[in-house]
């Protein structure tokens, strides 16, 4: 199988994931988009591992790492989203802007 197929597929997946992270409002969908991006990377790792005929299969090993870390990340991420939703009744990323530096606040502090 030619390398182009998995590479193009991975690029597509990554782009979709990137679009999701940058554009989706729902925090859960943002997390899902991150998963898409990670898996695009995984696909690349495996494909290149095969294409380069790596004897120690570093690509595959790294993929396992990424999967494990992605699982942990999604666990923590979903827990945070859940708590945010419980506190505020929404998980809209656009509305979670408490860390903005607003003019009036800064002046009140000064």
């Amino acid at each position: 199988m030619h390398l182009a197929y998995p590479a193009v597929l991975a690029a597509l997946l990554f782009s979709i994931g990137l679009y999701g992270v940058l554009a989706r409002r729902n925090a859960i969908l943002v997390l899902m988009s991150i998963e898409l991006m990670l898996n695009a990377v995984n696909l690349n790792l495996v494909a290149f591992d095969v294409w380069l005929r790596d004897t120690v299969h570093a690509g595959q090993a790294l993929t396992l790492f990424v999967i494990v870390i992605a699982a942990a990340e999604i666990g923590i991420g979903l827990a945070i989203v859940l708590l945010v939703y419980r506190n505020r009744g929404t998980s809209d990323v656009d509305k979670l802007t408490d860390l903005a530096d607003r003019e009036e606040k800064a002046e009140a502090a000064a």
Partner: protein, 661 residues
């Protein structure tokens, strides 16, 4: 104990007393008065013992070098000779009298403790100036006296007059002290030592390279301290201090320091004929000017202040003709009778409730109310006017004698013109002195009009002090010229001090002319004194403290400034009266020369600071603020925006790297 140890004790006792009273005063008010009086009195007794032990023998020198300075060495040195020990006795006497008088005069003053401590520190400093043999150590005492004078003049700092007078006294004397310090450095560099003995040796051997410059610089400091023209303007204003302070500092001791300094370093001044001429002119202008100004003053203490300036002029004149014995003789007798005059004036102000002569001249029975003050003041005024046989006559005659000697060209180094200047000024001043002394006495004690309000009797201790000081005023002159009793010339340089026939006839004759003229003028203006003038402090409870009356009188509107038509001085001075009353407008000159330029410079600095420098400072704050406001806009709190920018940045970097590669 050796003479040196005793002298050190004299120095330290008042200082230790002051330290103890400052520490204990608030906690144990009962100790305040003994701690003020006893150390000073002990110092006086010890100073007298030092004087007797030292006698007219050769000078005692003692020096201790604490640490090498690297260049010109500074020694803690004592130099005891006839001049030093006698002046120390005078200082001790006056200081003791003033401390005693103050226990009555300021008995309920809330700041009595710090007041008496400052007077004691001042006394210590004066002893230091008198006894020391090293000009740097002398300078220390000199400056301590300056700062004590500042604090004491400002004793009634609640009043505006006292505040401004204290600052003026400090600044004007500093105006002289800065050249003085430079002069001392120049002198020590030339002589290679700060020890007075070494400096004198260098001066007599002609080793000073810039005698005129050094002498003129030193004279500036002397003029400031001893209130000589043109730096005398602080002294009349310094009368805003309590009367005992005026008696101690501004009559008997501090102002004498300048004269004493010149007397100690006379050979240095003699190396420069120009400096002696300047000193003579300064003394002459001071004498005549202050005599005229004293005739026109309304405030009794200001009359006395101007007379102090004039008498210091006599001493400076004696120094200008190279006779330091006469100068110190006059210093001694003047110290006693001027302290007496001031203390008596304090009693008088208490009795009259005003310090305005115009107001006193419209009071009846002031002489009866303050009888001790009247008698002692009469004695002291006679001494001031140089009427024989009071002490002032003998000492002033010794000055005139010295001037007459120099005018004949018989004194080495001194041109006869200098002698003539001093002699003529001295004789003119003799008339003026007699005139203003008479005017003071007649206006104060021979007033007619309403009865004096009763301000309560003076404490007995105040009157006792007056009579104690009257003794030297009466007897010092006579005693000191009978060699068997007290051989004063032998204590000094051995020069003859007794009056000669010519000068004494001239001096007494002129003094009598002054007295008679003033009496005539007083009679002539009697009718004009019927109209009341000036406010008087209302009679208060009989137990009131004497000084309170004086403090209240400070705040009265200046009554006689508007010109009292019944003032005999006004009749005699004619058109001169107005400038003389204002001290010949010298304050206005100073204000134009120094005060206004300084104020203008200050407002320029203020402008530069407020408008220029602060603009830069504000700019450094405003620019980051503005930038911050711009950057703040980008921080929206929306994570997706941040990530988008991050992505855009990464893409740009990647493209740049790709293009670069």
């Amino acid at each position: 104990m050796t003479v040196t140890t005793l002298a050190v004790l004299v120095l330290l006792l008042p200082f230790l007393g002051a330290a103890a009273s400052l520490l204990l005063g608030k906690r144990a008010p009962g100790f305040a008065q003994p701690l003020a009086v006893l150390p000073t009195a002990a110092a006086f007794v010890l100073a007298a013992i030092v004087a007797v032990r030292q006698g007219s023998g050769p000078a005692t020198d003692s020096a201790h070098r604490l640490t090498p300075t690297g260049s010109v060495p500074i020694d803690i040195a004592l130099h005891l000779d006839g001049f030093a020990v006698l002046i120390a006795v005078l200082v001790g006497l006056v200081a003791t009298c003033v401390q005693l008088y103050s226990t009555g005069y300021l008995r309920d003053d809330p700041r009595y403790v710090s007041y008496s401590a400052l007077v004691a520190i001042f006394t210590s400093a004066m002893f230091l100036v008198v006894y020391t043999g090293d000009v740097m150590v002398l300078l220390v005492g000199w400056e301590i006296m300056g700062i004590c004078s500042y604090f004491l003049v400002g004793h009634y700092w609640e009043t505006e007059v006292a505040r401004s007078a204290s600052i003026k006294a400090f600044l004007v004397t500093k105006l002289g002290d800065v050249p003085f310090l430079i002069g001392l450095f120049a002198l020590a560099t030339d002589a290679g030592t700060f020890r007075i003995n070494g400096i004198l040796t260098a001066a007599t051997h002609g080793e000073l390279h810039h005698p005129t410059l050094v002498a003129l610089l030193l004279l500036a400091g002397v003029a400031g301290k001893s209130a000589q023209f043109p730096l005398h303007t602080w002294l009349p204003d310094a009368m805003a201090g309590p009367t005992p302070v005026s008696a101690l500092i501004h009559a008997a001791t501090m102002v004498a320091a300048g004269i004493y300094f010149v007397a100690r370093l006379l050979p240095v001044f003699e190396t420069s004929a120009a400096a002696m001429a300047v000193l003579a002119v300064m003394a002459s202008v001071t004498m005549i000017g202050s005599g005229l100004a004293a005739l026109a003053q309304d405030d009794i203490k200001r009359v006395l202040a101007y007379s102090t300036i004039g008498q210091l002029g006599y001493m400076a004149g004696a120094l200008a003709v190279g006779d330091r014995s006469a100068a110190v003789f006059h210093l001694l007798s003047h110290g006693a009778f001027k302290a007496l005059l001031f203390l008596a004036a304090g009693s008088l102000i208490h009795a009259a409730g005003t310090n305005s002569l115009a107001a006193m001249s419209r009071m009846d029975g002031l002489g009866k109310r303050a009888e001790d003050a009247m008698w002692t003041m009469g004695i002291a005024l006679a001494a001031l006017a140089a009427i024989p046989p009071f002490s002032g006559f003998f000492s002033k005659e010794s000055v005139l004698r010295a001037a007459e000697h120099a005018s004949g060209g018989h004194t080495a180094h001194i041109p006869s013109a200098v002698g003539w200047t001093v002699l003529v000024a001295g004789l003119v001043t003799a008339v003026l002195t007699a005139a203003y002394a008479t005017r003071l006495f007649l206006l104060a004690f021979r007033g007619q009009g309403a009865q004096v309000p009763d301000h309560g009797r003076d404490p007995a201790v105040m009157n006792v002090v007056l009579w104690v000081l009257a003794i030297p005023t009466l007897g010092f002159g006579m005693v000191s010229l009978v060699p068997k009793v007290f051989d004063l010339p032998a204590w000094f340089d051995g020069e003859e001090l007794a009056p000669t026939l010519v000068t004494s006839v001239l001096g007494v004759g002129l003094a009598l002319v002054g007295v008679v003229t003033m009496y005539g003028a007083w009679q002539a203006t009697a009718a004009r004194r019927r109209t009341p003038a000036g406010a008087v402090v209302a009679a208060s409870a009989a137990a009131a403290e004497p000084a309170l009356v004086e403090e209240a009188a400070l705040e009265l509107p200046p009554a006689g400034k508007a010109a009292d038509p019944g003032d005999p001085g006004r009749l005699l001075l004619g058109p001169l009266h107005r400038p003389a009353a204002a001290g010949f407008h010298l304050d206005a000159v100073y204000s134009a020369l120094f005060v206004r330029p300084v104020l203008a410079a200050a407002s320029l600095v203020r402008f530069l600071d407020r408008e220029v420098i602060e603009t830069y400072v504000r700019g450094t704050g405003a620019a980051p603020r503005l930038l911050g406001a711009i950057v703040r806009r980008t921080q929206t709190g929306n994570v997706q925006t941040y990530l988008s920018v991050l992505l855009a940045g990464s893409v740009v970097l990647a493209v740049l790297v790709a293009v670069g590669a």
